[in-house]
């Protein structure tokens, strides 16, 4: 790894929430990602930056279980693990907020928050009867804790603003005792105020002990929120920087290839 700031001894003793070792992904002849080594420590906000096609989304898909790596391995909480599908990653405490949010827009906030994890009065496969009062209580508590403002849990997602939708998607990821939340471009489609609101939500998550992996093109956001930055270029991690010890110029230098 060129020019990477080495982690000090103390942080190496901490077990990373998640760690990738030598992840490589090939699509036929195309090498989308090559030998990616990355670790996320508890409570960290780790940013991934890089130009279009650098391999960021490919990396995220592998870590979220949506795709299998061609080579390399994953560790979660210090243990080797293989993901075959997104639910494997979720069972390991890794939740993903996709760039398109993946919400069911015709359904209300409540249904989206509990999608695939509905609370039921009793368990009888698909015919389990929904316990809506319990879900409503938990939903209000969750939205309140994370600071997501929606008019009501019975509103359809279609009628919400972009920031509110993002909030619902993040709340859905945060509500299950997850260790790590991956966010792919969480504010790309948002205005200034809504972006600020999402930043607040991310800080709240961090203070609750959740680690965040943030894919972003927004340098201001990266400088404001992250503790460390990994720069991807043409499928390789070309730099691993500590945010407090770097600058926007240095990061951009690595992204464009002017450095490293």
């Amino acid at each position: 790894m060129t020019q990477g700031h080495t982690l000090n001894k103390a942080s190496q003793a901490i077990v990373p929430v998640a760690e990738t070792i030598g992840i490589t992904k090939r699509y036929g002849g195309i090498v989308a990602l090559s030998d990616a080594n990355l670790k996320i420590l508890p409570r960290e906000v780790v940013a991934i930056v890089g130009d279009n096609g650098a391999g960021k989304s490919t990396f995220v898909k592998i870590l979220s279980g949506a795709q299998a790596a061609t080579e390399g391995s994953l560790k979660v909480g210090g243990r080797d693990i293989t993901f075959h599908r997104p639910s494997d990653a979720r069972d390991a405490g890794i939740e993903t907020v996709y760039q398109d949010l993946s919400l069911a827009e015709d359904l209300d906030v409540l249904s989206n928050l509990f999608m695939g994890r509905e609370e039921c009065y009793f368990n009888f496969g698909g015919l389990s009867v929904l316990n809506r009062p319990k879900m409503i209580r938990r939903a209000k508590q969750l939205l309140g804790e994370i600071g997501v403002n929606v008019p009501g849990v019975h509103d359809t997602v279609k009628g919400l603003s972009g920031g509110q939708r993002q909030g619902v998607a993040i709340a859905r990821a945060a509500g299950w005792g997850s260790q790590l939340i991956i966010m792919d471009e969480p504010t790309a489609a948002l205005g200034v105020q809504e972006t600020a609101h999402v930043h607040e939500i991310i800080r709240t998550l961090q203070s609750r002990g959740v680690a965040v992996l943030l894919v972003s093109h927004n340098m201001k956001q990266v400088m404001e929120l992250s503790t460390r930055v990994y720069v991807f270029r043409r499928g390789r991690i070309v730099a691993e920087l500590t945010t407090a010890q770097t600058s926007t110029d240095e990061i951009i230098g690595y992204i464009t290839g002017a450095r490293g």
């Binding site: 993903t96 993946s102 695939g116």
Partner: protein, 332 residues
């Protein structure tokens, strides 16, 4: 601030009444308009036409609505899931004939069970083609329909299956206070499917799959299983209607059901459910099927040629779809 889907629940009775009368969701508005038109036309017809308000005619309307109504309820589920099934009529014919044929040697109950199994199997096959193979619902269900009709004609030589055990007639004539066996079955299907759609996890997932398939799968829902189960239930309702037809007709009719799929889809659409998926309720199918039945009953009473009926049905579908589309584009 309240824009509930047709499926969502309300907090207080007053708020509930408010959103019921004036929903923000364009699809729900279409449904209220259709319900209003249906109720007013029934009231007007009752006032002006003594034959219409005759209890036997009213019960007759319920009876006529029941058989295809059962199919429409199943269609409703498939449309909410983002698809539809063009093979329900062929399925009903095949299941009805199987019920008749099996009853000849093994009795009526065995016949009915065999029919329901066949119908569910046909529905599940549609679901597998749509979910696992990713075949477009139009192509998958149209193709299976052709196969079923071909096989059925070949096996029966196109001839009705008769004479049948007398229990079929007893079933056909059975009624409680004028409410026939078909109507009772229809009411049961409506009640069960409404409860399932509103209160079970599976019901919730049908909406989710219809609204966003990829997102729902990412949330950990087994989308394929939801789709296969939905089409299987659609097939089951078709088979139920096939059994009802056999009980009413007293014979197994291989030629039956050719218009049922389109009638059922039309009922759902007229009842205010768009074909885009993710929204709607069993109420749509019920309102739609009664709308169509009352329309055809009134046309018969006023001796308007039956040839006009498809034209009126088409016009109603276009009005419902057109209004909903217009509202949606204005909002966007």
């Amino acid at each position: 601030m309240n824009a509930p889907s047709v499926a969502s629940t309300h907090h207080t009775p007053w708020q509930g009444l408010g959103t019921f009368l004036l929903p923000k969701n364009p699809a729900a508005v279409v449904q209220r308009i259709m319900l209003f038109l249906l109720v007013t036309s029934v009231i007007i017809l009752c006032i002006v036409n003594p034959t219409f308000r005759n209890p036997s005619n009213l019960l007759n309307i319920v009876q006529q609505a029941s058989m295809i109504g059962v199919v429409a309820c199943g269609m409703q589920l498939m449309i909410i899931s983002g698809g539809f099934d063009l093979s329900v009529g062929a399925n009903a014919a095949a299941s009805g004939c199987l019920a008749a044929a099996v009853s000849l040697s093994f009795g009526v109950p065995a016949g009915i069970i065999a029919a329901l199994c066949l119908g569910t199997l046909i529905g599940a096959s549609n679901g597998v083609m749509v979910a696992k193979a990713g075949i477009n619902p139009f192509v998958a269900t149209f193709g299976l329909q052709a196969i079923i009709i071909g096989a059925l004609q070949a096996l029966t030589q196109g001839r009705p299956i008769a004479p049948l055990p007398k229990e079929w007639r007893e079933l056909g004539f059975f009624n409680i206070g004028g409410l026939t066996f078909s109507s009772i079955v229809f009411i049961a299907v409506v009640t069960l499917l409404t409860l399932m759609l509103r209160h079970t996890q599976f019901g919730q997932h049908i909406y989710a799959v219809g609204s966003n398939k990829v997102g729902t799968s990412r949330a950990g829902v087994n989308v394929d299983r939801v789709l296969i189960a939905t089409y299987a239930i659609g097939g089951l309702t078709a088979a139920i209607a096939g059994v009802l037809l056999t009980s009413i007709a007293g014979v197994g009719s291989p030629q039956a059901g050719t218009t049922w799929a389109l009638l059922a889809i039309a009922a759902v659409v007229i009842g205010g459910t768009p074909l885009t998926g993710g929204v709607g309720g069993i109420s749509s199918a019920v309102i739609g099927i009664f709308g169509l039945t009352v329309l055809s009953n009134a046309m018969t009473l006023y001796s308007i040629s039956a040839f006009w009926q498809p034209a009126f049905m088409g016009a109603s579908v276009l009005l419902a779809v057109g209004y909903e589309a217009l509202r949606r584009t204005r909002r966007a």
